[in-house]
Symmetry: C2
Subunit: 294 residues, 2 copies
């Protein structure tokens, strides 16, 4: 039986080694910013995005070592977004991955800068990929900027904020998720494909479609977990969506229907890559994300 957790752990180790290597190390005159950056970047977490990058690269015949700098860059972007999202002027969260949030430990100003630093160094990390040509690295950096920017993750964050004032239509809810979490999950597949030397064509499209569907399933499951999950298992507060009057999938369907929808979307994800060889790990990932409890 295929052990996805074992695979996830091995990929997380590789990612953390790459993060450790690619993050700035320190300066004796101001060690605190380096500590704050690493506090959040090395804090564990499932490392789903880098996993997708590494496994899409492998599925498409590439070498994991060529995907690692891209995987680390995406994880840095993800971590920066969490630090900034947790700030008092945003979600004002005290707990993340079971630990006090960055600003609770280092103060707001330092947390702001730690987020800025992770975003800044993400581009440096991707640019330093010596296994790929300058042209490919440049393409990767353009995608990184596009998916993390106003038309991608940041745009999704803004739509999320707007949704706190005015309830979203179902269409706008989908658009919000497509950007807020979808853009970076899609990017994970895109950069994994790039690292395998695959920049377009059927296999590229299949990998992207797979990522889009698991991104959507991920978000539906997130909404379900926020409604019925366990705070200790999740490592973050639950029930926040309803308390804040947020539009979620559960504003449009029952928990049972949401489960069913997540299942169908997961099947679509698996169908997208069914004809590609060596797809076992990514098929297992789709199932794992559907059944996760945290």
């Amino acid at each position: 039986m295929f052990d996805i957790k074992n695979e996830l752990n091995r990929a997380a180790e590789l990612t953390e080694e790459a993060l450790d290597r690619l993050l700035p190390s320190s300066d004796p005159d101001y060690p605190v910013i380096f500590e704050a950056v690493r506090y959040s970047a090395m804090a564990g977490g499932k490392r789903i995005r880098p996993f997708i990058t590494l496994k899409v690269c492998e599925m498409l015949g590439g070498d994991v070592s060529a995907a690692l700098p891209y995987a680390a860059a995406i994880e840095m972007i993800h971590c920066y977004s969490l630090i900034h999202d947790d700030l008092p002027c945003m979600d004002n969260d005290d707990l993340r991955r079971g630990k006090p949030t960055n600003h609770k430990v280092y103060g707001e100003a330092m947390a702001l800068l730690a987020g800025d630093a992770l975003l800044t160094h993400a581009f440096g990390a991707a640019a330093s990929n010596e296994k790929m040509s300058p042209e490919t690295n440049l393409a990767a950096l353009k995608l990184l900027s596009e998916r993390a920017g106003c038309y991608g993750m940041i745009g999704g964050q803004v739509l999320d904020m707007i949704g706190e004032e005015t309830p979203h239509s179902y269409e706008l809810l989908l658009k919000m998720h497509e950007k807020k979490t979808g853009a970076l999950i899609r990017l994970s597949a895109e950069l994994g494909a790039l690292a395998a030397g695959c920049r377009s064509g059927e296999k590229y499209e299949a990998a992207v479609k797979y990522a889009e569907y698991i991104g959507l399933a991920f978000q539906i499951v997130d909404d379900i977990l926020d409604a019925e999950g366990d705070e200790v298992t999740l490592g973050k507060s639950v029930g926040t969506d309803r308390r804040e009057g947020k539009t979620t999938f559960l504003s449009f369907m029952s928990i049972y229907e949401a489960h069913r929808r997540a299942e169908l979307v997961t099947i679509e994800a698996k169908n997208a890559i069914e004809k590609i060889e060596n797809n076992e790990t990514l098929l297992a990932l789709a199932d794992y994300l559907l059944s996760r409890k945290s």
Copy 2:
């Protein structure tokens, strides 16, 4: 007589055209982030950094159009740093370039995201430079990340914060400025040289040295202006350094001595490029920055 103000205005126009072209335009479902980004990025200002990029490129025989995407990228980074610096958790400033600061208009959360967006899109802007090879663009992006990151601008910001708690030594004050404002001014010269196809050698070193010296002179003049400048002319609050007990050049010398020091450093800047042809504009810039009142 050479009219530096005219030159500055023309370069600022070119920079603003490039910013307008390279910044994300809008989305009907969430126009506010695009407005917030442009509110700060298109808010005028002297555009000193892009000016240096364009003029170093010209001095070294390059075409201004090849330097423009880099110049715009540096200005985006500069603008992001101003938005984040002005936030309540940092300097808590209400006024910037004579207008309400970004968070005063759009709220803290949106200002945070507008800064994040400018930083993110700066890399996309530099990566989109079609006049230069992918290899050169990649080198530019690496420098952008390095100079804006923990060893550059962000590091300087942290040193500045540390200096508010414990007075800096003169050495640490210099290190702080070298990073906080110096790193981006140095980068302006570096990317101008890159855009002229000049990546090392005597002329490259001369341009970098010039930038380092004018960066230092700029900061000494800044400290003098904060002590004796005019709030209306400056477009920002004055006297803040002393009120906040900040270490500045005036913690170590009189205003007269600081003036003298700025003059000497300006002479060093001019000496650095004296043997390079077509240096008139940059020589005039050094004098202009020394005598500026805002």
